[in-house]
């Protein structure tokens, strides 16, 4: 079944769990394996945390927007903020690079997102914000049981 959703929320750290939970529910009908599900959830968490911490410096008056679409077994998702923007996207995507070492950010967010997604792209402009877009295709676990 094809499906589509949009979720907007204030840039509070507390809402990271809300985003993870909502997106997990949204893709549950695809019958993902446990590992696929937790990889997807990790991508969501990394992208949303980036938007809140780096995009908005945790300014709860600002808004993060997630849009997601299911087409067959493929999920396409964007996480958008209208915040600070990334100065150098290539540099930001390097493993261990972080602009916030004092907050103990590991600089591994983009590396993890790239590894767990089938494809990932980042559009960003200083002072305008950042859009992270990724795709992930799931292999339904019930396929096998149906074939029995």
């Amino acid at each position: 079944m094809n499906n589509e959703m949009t979720l907007s929320f204030a840039a509070h750290e507390e809402n990271e769990a809300l985003a993870r939970m909502t997106m997990t529910c949204f893709i549950t009908p695809l019958d993902p394996t446990l590992e696929e599900l937790s990889e997807f959830k990790t991508i969501v968490s990394e992208a949303v945390t980036n938007a809140i911490i780096h995009g908005y410096d945790c300014d709860g008056s600002r808004e993060v927007t997630i849009h997601a679409k299911i087409e067959d077994s493929k999920v396409t998702m964007t996480v958008r903020d209208d915040g600070n923007g990334i100065f150098d996207v290539d540099q930001a995507m390097e493993p261990m690079f972080t602009t916030k070492p004092l907050l103990e950010r590991s600089g591994m967010g983009f590396t993890i997102m790239e590894s767990f997604a089938d494809s990932l792209s980042v559009e960003s402009a200083i002072g305008q914000g950042t859009v992270v877009r990724f795709e992930k295709t799931f292999s339904p676990v019930t396929e096998k049981s149906r074939m029995r």
């Binding site: 990271e16 993870r20 990790t42 950010r105 967010g109 993890i112």
Partner: protein, 117 residues
């Protein structure tokens, strides 16, 4: 929920449950750090057996405590992460401190004795 205990040999055992993202990591960081700085801790074991989710915030938390323990050349072990978490640790160069097994074994490896609580 986080449980923190320390063995008589100074090994901190952090048992994490539920989800560990940025928000949760920020809440437990100070608690663990003050245990390291306030006591005689020289090693830390992260028991992730009952942790259902972790993102790169967990990496920041573990690496940060490794730094806290660096003056004492403190050891770190990560116990029973899920397959997804293990990948994250491997990406971050922490694959060599991941272990499968019991807390008792992990404490033994560091050189302590497990005391039933």
């Amino acid at each position: 929920m986080t449980q923190l205990s320390i063995t008589p040999e100074g090994i901190i055992v952090v048992t994490l449950q539920g989800e560990l993202g940025n928000h949760e990591a920020n809440r437990i960081r100070t608690q663990i750090s003050s245990e390291i700085f306030g006591g005689t801790a020289h090693a830390i074991i992260w028991d992730l057996t009952h942790l259902s989710f972790m993102d790169s915030s967990g990496i920041g938390l573990v690496l940060g405590r490794m730094r806290d323990l660096a003056p004492q050349q403190g050891e770190t072990l990560i116990l029973n992460p899920s397959p997804t978490m293990e990948k994250i640790f491997q990406f971050s160069g922490l694959g060599s401190v991941v272990r499968r097994g019991t807390i008792e074994n992990a404490i033994g490896e560091i050189g302590g004795v497990y005391h039933e609580q």
